[in-house]
């Protein structure tokens, strides 16, 4: 039944609006209570959630089986406007309104509950505990949907619990870490923000901006996508948390592709993000940026192939930020992985590079002593630039805290959701999810800073000196890393890319977009193509020789599909389904990076010349 499959177009966001938090009495050990709703609040969604949650909390029980000890209702109320254009022509223009729910029920207790367990079989219900619900914001239909979903979630929890207990009995040593950490309930009912996208003609902006690319006859294909999204998210739990927050995000994401004279496929992308539609650049500005991306792509077409290379590589700030977004996520999470009796699950996680290098290393030096790494969902901007990763409370209803993960090179803390780990237990408000999927500890606004930064010319000099000392006539400077979720014109190209890197991503395979050869003799820069970075892992950052004093705010959408979130692949997302996040990073110099030139067979050239664009 299609009704109960969360649509892929569902976009989950995490922006924030400055609203004071009103913490209820922190009394987590008390018996669960009905979720309070502020007096005078007549939102039927909240009322239906409260009434069905209360009925389930007090009466839902199978004979001879535990009652639920935790019930959680999540609901997203989503309005999406999306427009796609290519070379000045509209490909799609849609407006969609939808609502989705997800119900979580746990049996057991904080120490051992029905969650955190992956098994090959389990409860197969007729409807499931997630799905699309009515968009009327009415009371009756939502109660009906929540009733069935709660019933399904409870039965699934009971089944899962017995499977888990049987599995635990088969282990020689059961894990001692709790399944669920305590947190004070929060009541926060913000005003609902209604969508407004009438102020600009988005169809014409998409047409106008994309028309600029008609000047590039050698571009094979392009897509210019506009997304304007409003989401009101609801969270209600049997612990007394009641949250309603409204958020929005707006984006322009464009992909351009071509091929070199030898057949090599090449691409480029452009992305601009804002907290609301009005924040997006106008069509002329977008057009200018697209023209720049087109020019870069044309340069790339005629650039030489890079040979195999091992030596110093300088990453400009935007590239460094992307590298951090790829190498850090698995290790930032302090939550323990779920117990799994499915070997395929473990293998998949390992292949995606989901294993932490920092577990059990708190107190150890992980970066040069000049480096501090902070994740801060509470900061709204950086040097006047808005940070789209901010939020007040996370997707588990926990206030987002500023976490100093690495202090002067020493690992101090980790990002926590309500799933405890071997090093830390309580949540620090980093449980994030896209599309109502499982929450995971994910970064929000990640700030990587040095107390001993180099000025741009100092950094460049250090880079060239290192290059010369290593005996090279030139070394490589990466100005931008690829994000195939944005640079692929066709979904199939993205799938191909993921298939291509999947085997190497855990070993540190990284794909640059714009790489320059910088000559020691005169500092001359030359764009090269075809290089793939090998072996660039978190450990490579432990002794990086130098970082710059510049700082780039790199906004990206963490991909939450396919289990990508929290892995290196999570960096490859788009507004469609992605979780807004930022990395603030300076330029970074690595003294030894392996770059492999292109060794494959380039694809065959088109036999038919492209038809004119004008």
């Amino acid at each position: 039944v299609k009704k109960f499959a969360v649509g892929s177009a569902l976009l989950a966001l995490c922006l924030s609006f400055a609203m004071p938090l009103r913490a209820a009495q922190p009394n987590p050990k008390a018996a669960p209570q009905a979720a309070p709703i502020p007096a005078g609040e007549n939102d039927k969604t909240l009322l239906a959630m409260r009434d069905e949650l209360e009925r389930s909390r007090t009466r839902l029980q199978l004979p001879g089986v535990d009652k639920p000890f935790y019930i959680e209702y999540r609901l997203l109320d989503v309005d999406v406007r999306s427009v796609t254009a290519s070379f000045g022509a509209l490909l799609a223009s849609d407006t969609a309104r939808s609502r989705f729910m997800s119900v979580d029920v746990r049996v057991g207790d904080d120490h051992l509950d029905s969650s955190n367990f992956v098994s090959e079989d389990g409860f197969r219900g007729f409807l499931g505990s997630t799905g699309q619900v009515g968009i009327d914001r009415d009371y009756n239909s939502l109660r009906q949907d929540l009733w069935l979903a709660t019933d399904q979630a409870y039965k699934a929890a009971v089944t899962q619990m017995s499977l888990k207990q049987a599995f635990l009995r088969s282990l020689t040593k059961a894990p001692e870490i709790d399944d669920f950490s305590q947190t004070p309930p929060i009541i926060k009912v913000d005003p609902r923000i209604e969508p407004d996208w009438t102020s600009r003609n988005w169809d014409n902006e998409a047409r106008g901006a994309s028309a600029v690319l008609k000047n590039f006859e050698k571009i094979d294909g392009t897509r210019v996508n506009y997304y304007l999204i409003y989401v009101t998210s609801y969270l209600m739990t049997s612990e007394g948390t009641t949250i309603r927050t409204s958020r929005s995000v707006a984006a322009v994401e464009a992909a351009l592709d071509t091929h070199a004279e030898d057949g090599m496929a090449l691409h480029n992308y452009y992305a601009a993000y804002g907290a609301k539609p009005a924040d997006l650049p106008d069509a002329a500005t977008v057009g200018k940026s697209l023209a720049q991306a087109g020019t870069q792509l044309m340069e790339l077409r005629s650039s030489p192939l890079v040979p195999d290379f091992t030596g110093p590589v300088l990453f400009d700030a935007p590239a460094a930020a992307s590298v951090l977004a790829q190498v850090l996520p698995p290790s930032l999470s302090g939550a323990r992985p779920p117990l799994s009796m499915a070997p395929a699950f473990d293998q998949m996680m390992e292949r995606m590079g989901a294993n932490s290098e920092w577990t059990g290393r708190v107190g150890a030096r992980v970066f040069p002593t000049s480096i501090t790494l902070v994740d801060d969902p509470s900061s709204k901007d950086f040097q006047g630039r808005p940070l789209l990763g901010s939020y007040d409370v996370d997707d588990e209803g926990v206030r987002g805290e500023r976490v100093t993960v690495v202090d002067h090179g020493i690992l101090k803390d980790l990002l926590m959701s309500r799933r405890p780990g071997p090093d830390f237990e309580p949540s620090n408000g980093h449980g994030r999810a896209g599309d109502l999927s499982d929450t995971k500890p994910l970064s929000s606004n990640l700030l990587f800073q040095s107390s001993d930064p180099l000025k741009p010319d100092e950094l460049k000099k250090k880079f060239l000196d290192a290059c010369r000392d290593d005996g090279h006539p030139w070394c490589l400077e990466v100005k931008e890393m690829d994000n195939p979720a944005l640079s692929s014109v066709e979904q199939e190209d993205f799938s191909d890319f993921i298939g291509g890197v999947a085997g190497g991503i855990a070993g540190g395979m990284r794909v640059p977009l714009l790489t320059y050869r910088v000559y020691v003799a005169d500092g001359r820069e030359e764009l090269v193509r075809g290089g793939i970075i090998q072996g660039l892992t978190l450990r490579s950052l432990r002794n990086i020789p130098a970082v710059g004093g510049d700082a780039s705010v790199f906004t990206y959408m963490q991909n939450s599909a396919g289990g990508f979130a929290g892995t290196a692949l999570g960096a490859f997302g788009s507004t469609q389904g992605g979780i807004p996040s930022t990395v603030i990073a300076p330029s970074m110099l690595f003294d030894e990076v392996e770059v492999r030139g292109f060794h494959g067979e380039p694809r065959r050239l088109p036999l038919v010349p492209a038809p004119p664009l004008k």
Partner: protein, 563 residues
């Protein structure tokens, strides 16, 4: 398989002058000529190219449990490019026994605006992508040729040559006011919610207006439009033992003025509620073998599943298929009073529209009425452009859902009989047979859901159709008793030969059939049939029990729960 799905086609033509369609067709033709000139000299050479552009307007309004679920208008253009490398005898699509050729989706979305340079660029780009995939696939085909097991039909060419067709009809448009339908789907699903037995209900209205343009390197040039409106009702329930109970109803029409009246739909809602509540309480059937009477609608689905799918030509050349009928052309496979044709050219029957109606198939071939069975003797198969040794040409049944590669599919499968009796006589005959066989009761099967047809060789040659509404008809004249959990078992050839009589009124089932080339609109038309022996078993019950708590709107412990 017959089932419910998203969209549909049905021819609706009346003359109109050329419009944007001609501009699009000429741009497609320009690119086709350029591509054919260059790619026919390529290595490997391309011998056939087709471009299809589907311009689709789709409105849909869906409601559930008394509230609106979604309401949207969707407009899109989908471009499909087919490049065939090699020759008609052996090309890149040749099915390999050992492995599947790597699959490239045959299309991309393209410009909604009539922007010719952009359209041409998209066609060029997609052609290049498809040609590269075809060239690679052909190499794989050629390298595995030597080691491949050859079947008789494996010697058939990969692609038929067909005479070019030219037809450019008027462009169709739909103008849908979704507001009244939003109210209607709320009302219908709210009516369902009055019954505590209905756990979940969905009502979906959809309107499709599609203009399809096609040019091929053989000289075919087509442009035609189709319009279709549909209302679907669906409810879910659970019997006390956890068995899933589903009821489904649909209304189809071509002209907005023929939309079903509110009272007609609400009456159907009431019937569905009664059936649901009746099934919830009905006893489970015990394993049984004996006579069975299928009403027209159930019989239509039965023929679609059991006969129709096995008459699809492409299955006869695939080594992985069961090939039930492959060697049976010219043989008696049914009682001699039965004949079956598939006729997509028929738009209606007895005042009811036929959903499988179309003028040209998705490979640009004109639809033909195909006499599949004549007085019990199998004559031929439904053919797309994948020929058999004995059947070198298509008969206009190559069909697909957008985004899939066409294969031979059913259109309007029509069963006729020369041995008919009234439905009352047929029922009397059922009772007689029951007595003859010394059984206490016979079965009356009133509704069948399209199940999954196992035509693959790995599966037993059995079929699974799911009877939804089944009655015991007692030999001693007691009132009929509704039973549930009935699963038909048996082999298709045997069950087809055991038909002993038919009714005199054909019944129409309109639905969506999902198979290798996606979901396509089809009709099945048949009279009621009496089968001398049918074997049924008890359907496996779900482990998911009914909900623990009563529905919130019907909870005696909470007064005024509904708001």
């Amino acid at each position: 398989m017959l089932g419910a799905a998203w969209a549909a086609l049905a021819a609706n033509r009346s003359p109109l002058p050329s419009g944007p369609g001609e501009t699009i067709l000429s741009a497609m033709q320009t690119e086709l000529d350029r591509s054919m000139t260059a790619l026919s000299k390529g290595d490997p050479p391309v011998y056939f190219i087709s471009y299809t552009l589907a311009d689709r307007q789709y409105s849909s309004v869906s409601g559930s449990n008394g509230a609106l679920l979604s309401s949207s208008d969707d407009r899109g253009r989908w471009l499909e490019v087919q490049t065939r490398a090699g020759s008609n005898e052996l090309d890149n699509t040749h099915k390999l026994a050992d492995r599947q050729p790597s699959w490239t989706s045959p299309g991309t979305s393209t410009a909604l605006d009539d922007d010719i340079p952009t359209l041409r660029r998209e066609i060029w780009r997609e052609t290049d992508r498809q040609y590269r995939a075809s060239a690679e696939a052909l190499i794989k085909v050629k390298t595995s040729q030597q080691v491949q097991v050859q079947t008789a039909e494996g010697a058939a060419p990969d692609f038929s040559s067909e005479a070019p067709r030219t037809y450019v009809g008027p462009r169709v448009d739909i103008h849908v006011d979704r507001k009244p339908w939003e109210e209607r789907v709320r009302r219908y699903t709210a009516a369902f919610s009055k019954s505590p037995a209905v756990l979940n209900s969905i009502a979906t209205f959809s309107a499709l207006g599609m203009n399809q343009y096609q040019v091929t390197s053989e000289g075919t040039k087509l442009g035609f439009g189709q319009v279709h409106y549909r209302l679907e009702l669906y409810v879910q329930s659970k019997a006390p033992d956890g068995m899933d109970i589903n009821r489904f109803a649909n209304f189809d029409w071509l002209d907005p003025k023929d939309a079903p009246e509110d009272k007609v739909v609400l009456a159907r809602v009431q019937t569905m509620i009664q059936e649901t509540e009746g099934l919830d309480k009905a006893p489970l059937i015990d394993p049984y073998a004996g006579p069975a009477l299928l009403t027209g609608r159930a019989s239509a689905v039965f023929f679609h599943e059991v006969f129709g799918h096995r008459a699809e030509g492409f299955r006869q050349k695939d080594i992985n298929e069961g090939q039930t009928f492959t060697s049976k052309v010219g043989e008696q496979i049914l009682p001699d009073f039965l004949s079956i044709k598939d006729d997509p050219t028929q738009a209606a029957l007895g005042g009811q529209m036929l959903l499988g109606n179309y003028a040209y198939d998705d490979e640009g071939v004109a639809a033909e009425s195909v006499a599949l069975v004549d007085h019990g003797v199998l004559k031929t198969f439904l053919m797309g452009r994948s020929p058999l040794v004995s059947i070198p040409h298509s008969n206009g049944h190559g069909r697909r859902q957008l985004g899939y590669v066409p294969v031979a599919r059913q259109g309007n499968l029509i069963v006729s009989s020369s041995k008919t009796m009234t439905n009352a006589q047929l029922r009397q005959k059922l009772i007689e047979l029951t007595k003859e066989q010394g059984k206490a009761f016979g079965l009356l099967i009133d509704d069948i859901a399209g199940g999954f047809t196992f035509t693959g060789r790995g599966n037993p040659q059995a079929f699974q159709v799911l009877p939804l509404v089944v009655y015991k008809v007692f030999a001693d004249g007691r009132p009929d008793e509704l039973v549930r959990g009935v699963d038909i078992v048996g082999t298709p050839l045997v069950s087809l030969t055991k038909i002993v009589a038919t009714g005199d009124t054909p019944d129409v089932f309109n639905g969506y059939c999902g198979a290798e080339s996606g979901s396509v609109p089809v009709s099945a038309v048949a009279p009621a049939i009496l089968i001398s022996e049918m074997e049924v078993q008890k359907k496996e019950t779900s482990t998911d029990r009914p909900p623990i708590l009563p529905p919130p709107g019907h909870d005696p412990e909470t007064k005024g729960a509904a708001q």
